[in-house]
């Protein structure tokens, strides 16, 4: 991923960022434990994950849309569907891996995390989804220091 190569995805569509979430009364109440909900998951990564090729958040690039996040706090399950920006994006696995890693690092251990590509939006979605679902492959990949470095770069906040 040298700087000299032409970006694969030079003109991504940019969507309006949805407004800040309005706080409700129970959100402000310190005694009520906040269950983890869809918006919170979305907030965890949408503001901090970068598309490796573009210094904009994934939400702005429409790589991840809010309605594709499904959280069940009681069952400790999170499911995230993401749409790679262009169908042949070779970065789909890396983006998916970065989303998965961010969630693994941010959520309590009890959560089962499923990250997959929005059906019909990618030529190799089955192959990518299978890799993302294989925790042994994910664990081994993250022991590769070069790959881990790329994932960490992907996840670093762009806000300075």
């Amino acid at each position: 991923m040298s700087g000299g190569t032409r970006l694969e995805n030079a003109n991504p569509l940019i969507f309006q960022r949805s407004g800040e979430r309005r706080l409700t009364a129970t959100d402000e109440d310190e005694d009520v434990a906040d269950p983890i909900d869809d918006r919170e998951i979305f907030d965890i990564f949408s503001k901090s994950i970068n598309d490796p090729e573009h210094p904009l958040s994934l939400e702005e690039l429409n790589v991840v849309e809010q309605m594709r996040v499904n959280v069940n706090d009681q069952e400790s399950m999170v499911s995230v569907e993401f749409t790679p920006t262009i169908p042949h994006c070779s970065m789909a696995t890396l983006i998916g891996l970065s989303i998965k890693v961010k969630l693994l690092r941010s959520l309590p251990d009890r959560f089962k995390i499923d990250v997959h590509i929005t059906p019909g939006t990618h030529a190799s979605e089955d192959a990518v989804n299978k890799q993302l679902a294989d925790k042994e492959r994910v664990a081994a990949a993250l022991e590769n220091s070069q790959l881990l470095e790329v994932v960490n770069q992907c996840l670093s906040s762009r806000a300075m």
């Binding site: 251990d109 089962k112 679902a133 294989d134 042994e136 492959r137």
Partner: protein, 365 residues
């Protein structure tokens, strides 16, 4: 016999017949059997700090338990009084996660398979283990290592899609005698037949391969297809007549070898039982107890389950029912389940939360 007993017998008789018939039609239905078995937790041990515990293996004598994990270490545990204590730590063998460990049939050697692409052999000396040698050759992560019952052969498999067979001689020299490339993807697990020199492998390509040596050449003699996703683990039954496989497709399948009556050497394995609807997520491991015939599974839904075989069913169409289930046995995915080879009902499991647990299973509670 009094009237009451006679009436009861007459009333019960048709129910028993109906149950058997229904069982044959709906293999694996748990509603027709009460779960008579029970699993009692004996001890929980935090074995690998801040890392997954990927595998546990009992020594052949059943007195030691080896565990391995994401912290790159292998730990040997022994019982002192009522509790399991750490006897040895083998920390310098691998540069990455240790995925599986296996004891030699004599109990004097331990093999460890790692994501660092090597397999280490350790020799037991008095109360400790010393590093003996390292087996290199795989191109990337080694997913499994297993000793043949003879003690002279070892098999390893890897994400490089290959299965390697190694021979060991009396001078502790290891030599690779065969590399077999029958899978099209990552090979997750290899296991030897309990009595014959026959090997089975499970893969990310959703298939199981059976290997035999013919004319000094190891090759894949049969391919078992049926799983709809990665096959994670395998276990032969005590007699070696059937093979259990477990998968990311959330099922456990039982396969039986059928040799055609015409005397030809073409063997085929058929799926004779499909246990589906029991597991909520990927089934990572399956273990078949040599002493009791009970089948245990390790699942990504954090539950441990034990299945028993219906003794009255047709051997060509076995029926298994769930005998015990502990829903949240560990706080995270269960990676491995292993029956103690000497003490009936004693079982170990381990999890992504770095723990292993020792259980006692009773078939009739």
């Amino acid at each position: 016999m009094n009237t009451f007993a006679a009436v009861l017998m007459v009333a019960l008789l048709p129910c028993i017949c109906i149950n058997r018939k229904a069982l044959k039609q709906e293999a694996g239905s748990e509603l027709l059997y009460e779960m008579k078995g029970a699993l009692e937790l004996l001890q929980r041990v935090s074995a690998h700090a801040d890392a997954s515990c990927w595998y546990v293996a009992w020594s052949p004598a059943g007195t030691l338990l080896a565990s391995c994990g994401g912290d790159r270490a292998i730990r040997i545990w022994g019982k002192e009084g009522d509790s399991w204590e750490c006897k040895s730590v083998l920390a310098d063998g691998h540069q990455r996660t240790v995925r599986k460990v296996a004891w030699s049939p004599c109990g004097k050697y331990l093999a460890s398979a790692s994501f660092d692409a090597t397999t280490c052999i350790w020799k037991k000396t008095n109360d400790d283990f010393e590093f003996l040698t390292v087996l290199e050759g795989h191109e990337n992560e080694v997913k499994c290592v297993t000793w043949a019952p003879s003690g002279n052969l070892l098999a390893t498999c890897s994400r490089d899609k290959s299965v390697w067979i190694w021979e060991v001689d009396e001078e502790d020299e290891y030599e690779c005698v065969s590399v077999v490339n029958s899978h099209t993807q990552d090979v997750k697990h290899v296991v030897w037949h309990p009595t014959q020199e026959l090997l089975a492998s499970a893969s990310y390509d959703n298939k199981v391969c059976i290997y035999k040596e013919e004319d000094d050449d190891w090759g894949c003699r049969a391919t078992l297809e049926g799983h709809e996703s990665t096959v994670w683990s395998l276990a032969f039954d005590p007699e070696g007549q059937r093979l259990a496989s477990c998968s990311d497709d959330r099922t456990v399948k039982i396969w039986k070898e059928s040799t055609p009556g015409d005397g030809s050497t073409d063997e085929s394995w058929k799926c004779v039982c499909n246990l589906s609807g029991f597991h909520g997520r990927t089934v990572y491991d399956v273990a078949w107890c040599r002493l009791t015939g009970a089948l245990a599974t390790a699942c990504g839904d954090d539950g441990v389950r034990v299945f028993r075989e219906d003794p009255t069913a047709d051997p060509e169409q076995p029926v298994f029912f769930m005998s015990a289930h502990v829903p949240k046995a560990h706080g995270q995915d269960i990676n491995c389940v292993s029956w103690n080879p000497k003490e009936a009902g004693l079982r170990a499991t381990c999890s992504d939360n770095g723990e292993f647990a020792i259980w006692k299973y009773n078939s009739d509670s």
